[in-house]
Amino acid sequence: MAGRLQSTKRLKEYMTAYYIDAKTAEGSNKKVGWITSGGPVEFLIAMDIIPVYPENHGAMVGATHQGGMLCEFAEKRGFSKDVCSYARSDIGGLLSDDPSKKGPVGGLPNPDMLICCNNICGTVMKWYETVSRYLDVPVYIIDTPVIHTGSIPEEVIDYVAAQFRGYIEFLEKVTKKHLDMDRLFEVSLIANENVTIWNKVLRKCANKPAPMTAFDAFTHMAPIVTLRGTQGVTDYYKALIEELDERTTQGIGAIDNEQYRLLWDNIPVWHKMRDLSTFFANHNAALVADTYTNAWASTNITTEGEKDILSAYAKAYTPIYLNIGIDKMIDVIKGLADIFGVDGLVLHSNHSCKPYSVGQYDIARRFHDETGKPSVIIEGDMTDERSWAQAQVTTRLEAFMEMLEADV
């Protein structure tokens, strides 16, 4: 096996430096803004505001098996176990008065503002409203109507663009600073470069054998989500690409003896990354692509032909993967299956994420009908390790692998 990517060490240093910067912002003249993972971070970067992603934190909470513990703090306060576990663990961390039980980085830095874009789910609005109440900080909501069919209508572009104007006013009010539109334009171009190079990173897995798997992508996605709009992201991924190319040149795959290539759908099961990675590797199967990390590989802010940059932002941030109709999602999945040459689809039916999970039965059916390839649905939860039935998941995955072995 190729072992861990060398870049992982650099990633750790890169993200640690970012968190130190964010954690030490309090008392300095820098402001901290919590923002949803699909939110337009470029505005924060352009205004020198430190972006902090509670969802990224949720992933760390899950990966360090602290989800159940933190969720319990929220549950004691009355939040149901049926509420999203990213939100529950985050709120749990806020409610915990034990400094050793606030999460893997000792809790997130306190925000000066909350930016909530509902292009990923309606849950984030309820979550950010809750944080706004508990921490008494202002929240700005960017409402991006779902594009069920067709292209984005003009009235939606105008509506979302108007909200981006309001977003600027909100940021200027909180920071008491003016947004330099030239700087926003510059950051937008850098963000586009970041997205393009992240796409290139992911496309490296079209090589056979794939030099990394989706499990690596889940880890290395941190910069594109968190620091999009900064040059460091491009620099980091350039080095990662070099490493992946080196592996490909030498014919080294992320797993030994890659026989099956699979596509993953939904947020990872953060608390089972190692187990699932080992399971698939033991079955000579590489998860070569996923719908989750690819969601950050196509958001291009194209001003050409647009009324203004804010309309370009509306067009870039509205029809993203989780904000489109199920049939459009199926098209994306089939496209990825084609690009990466996959043999089957693994769908994580995630209790905590309805926009991602509801509709997966149709996705699986259509994927099979239209590509002839098999799929398997496993039940779980991204962060709350208590919602995981190991025996059931193993049985389903083993049956799926047996079917693949018989077919391929």
């Binding site: 109507p145 939606v156 509506y159 149709d362």
Partner: protein, 348 residues
Amino acid sequence: MLLGNKNINEYIKSIKNPIIAYMCTYMPEEIIIACHLHPLRIIPTNDGPDRSNAYLQTYVCPVGKGMLNWGLNNPYENLKGVVVPHSCDTIQKLSDIWRINHITEFHHDLVLPVDMTKDYAEKYTISILKKLLDTLGRVGRPATDKSLHEAISLMNKVRKRIRSIDRTKMSARQFFEICISAMVMDKKEFLENTVDIPLMDSKGKPAMVVGNMIYDMNIFEIFDRVGLKIVDDDICPGSRYFETDVNEGLSPIEGIAKRIIDRPICPTKHTHMYREDYILNKVRKSLAHGVIFIYQQFCEPHLFDYPHIKDALAKEDIPSLFIEIEPSENISQQIYTRLEAFSEMLSQ
């Protein structure tokens, strides 16, 4: 005649005009009526086999499952289509499932704004309402200014009629059956049937009910049996349907849009006022002694608001009770006992 759980389906079969079903009280029924169509709130009735499991996971709410099942088992020849106002994530996905599986011939997504605090929400609402009007005009008959004004006037009368009813002088079941009837019946027929509602003295302890789409009338019957008098509510088939009217002095679409923006808060929307403040105001005004939360299981938007409302009530020493109804469950003895105990506590 008014409708209960048992005779809804029979009534639907007798509807003359083509039916447009909808999934949420954010639906502006005026637009359907103006296009000479019959608006029908989908009330899952658990008739027919449960076919929703082939489309929806076990953790999807019974409301979503029930509505999908209703569509899949649809026995109504007159059902032309469905309009889905965007509310929660589940309904958004349910809409796609409905559309791609061609459950009805006509399908329309009404993707309403979520943040009602911003001025541009109204402008956007007006544009999507105009599109809906145009689309429905092709399913039924094109709306005219006159048909729109008449539809608005009719819906205002329906809402006023419900508000005029003294709910403290009838059982909770009876009151919510009136609300459900308004969502299903021909509006003129509804008005004719609600002129003289028999009233009675109800001596129960005053309480308010807060929840989501509760359509099983048996739960409300328990309130009556354990001595609880529901003096106000914040549920989908209740005040969120009938409070606030369309301003008839405005142009029709503008008036309808303004009502959507200003109507009682649903947890899927963001407004200037958090729901705990809204509920607290209602409790104070109605002089309710306690609040019963009743949720269909897995309803995330409501479950997010619950701790905040519960805490706000506790600060004011207003007792509350949380009840969650599981999928396809007959109202259990346990729920009865808990409501009975709550009622006894209120009288102490």
